[in-house]
Amino acid sequence: MALILEDVWKSYPVRGGRREILKGINAVVERGDAVGILGRNGAGKSTLMRVISGVESPTRGRVRREMSVSWPLGSGFGLQASLSGADNARFIARIYGQDVRETLDFVQSFSEIGQYFYEPVKTYSAGMMGRLLMGLSFAVKFDCYLVDEIISAGDQRFVQRCQTMLEDRLGNASLLMVSHFADHIRQYCRTAVVLRNGLLELYEDIDEGIAVYQSL
């Protein structure tokens, strides 16, 4: 049970040709891994997340998902801004085939956004959006969570709630996390990769990875 990337390439058409974003990435994510993904703006971190999750297919190569992988949890992705948090929770419960009532209770209780749960998502602050998204994805019990910056907007209490949740799961679940905050990467992850020039560089020692990233 793992998540395997085999020679994954991704390019997009741009004015006057194609821009290569990912240039032949190979990686294996095992159960229980917690990997921080570091890289400068535009390095392709979010593209990598989308390709891993299966939202976009690689231009070349293959992603093998032997475990259930969350959708990329980033600002508002997979949510409907005009609907309330509760309606979004119902939608998620339905498409993932979960009990609607239990899902609603869990998301409301985990996200702690009070009455905003019944307001349209477009009125949420970045922090509330993060709370809702993490609540939704924890409700589904994925084997692998793809977190794209979303925890960074949360306050300390929320970060700790997420951590408790993940620690509960780790050993069972894996985490791939994009963040520009070295502290968050240290808190959540055990290894780090730096995405540079379309390729991944793995650092078993997380501080080493962060140091490399900070010198970019």
Binding site: R50, G54, G78, L79, R94, I95, Q98, S109, F110, R157
Partner: protein, 275 residues
Amino acid sequence: MSDVGFVPTPPARRERGHWIVEGLATQVRVIGALIMREVQTRFGRHNVGFLWLFFEPLFLGTMVGLMHSAHGQSMPGGVDPFLFSLVGYVPYFMFRAIINRAGSALHSNLTLLFHRQVTPVDVLLARNLLEAASVIGVIVIILAGGVWLAGVWPANPGLVFFCLLLMFLLCNGLAMMVAALVARWEVAERLVHPLTYLSMPLSGAFFALHWLPANLRELLLWNPQVSLHEGIRAGIFGDAFPSYYDLRYVGWCILVTTLLGLLSLRTARRKLEIF
């Protein structure tokens, strides 16, 4: 970590069945959820909300019907001109609603495609099913109204609903092609509205083929929509005047548009860029 508070336990994970059953069940669940959310976003949760789904085509159809019957022209076979234009316009409403909305379907649901099990086909199917449900509901209301108010029984209700079903399938196939086309070339979106508008006189919604010379009749029957409108009228008015339709040909058209639609959406999905 004293200030974390109560962290609830997530719902238990569901047992999974065989992958074929699971795949089918997922698709049904996804389409159901999409329909629910379409109703919520389009009609809100206030007042009569989703009743607009039926009211809108009924209202428009009635207005068009009144306008036509106000002309006072007599219909062959002593058919009521109001009913004639109503049962022509309402199914046409389905065609126009489905095709005109197809271009924006993927874009307005882009964020939902972040969930792997939600495919462009599901998005379109959900929308189109909703439109079809509204029009079929309205036809039921009209036919019931005809029986109740005027004592006019449809000659062959089965044929009416079979033609409406075929109409839905045809529109669905076309809508998939339009959506895929727009995903590739955004300009296509601008062409859809004028084209559906211009094709209105060719749809056969507002006249009976019987009124036309034979050669023109043959020409118009190349458009599968015409057969369907004729079939619907035959199902309602029966032998009041002759009808001309070829449902076998319509079946072939459905097959071709659906296959082309599925194929083009599949290739479009890879081209679709999400933010």
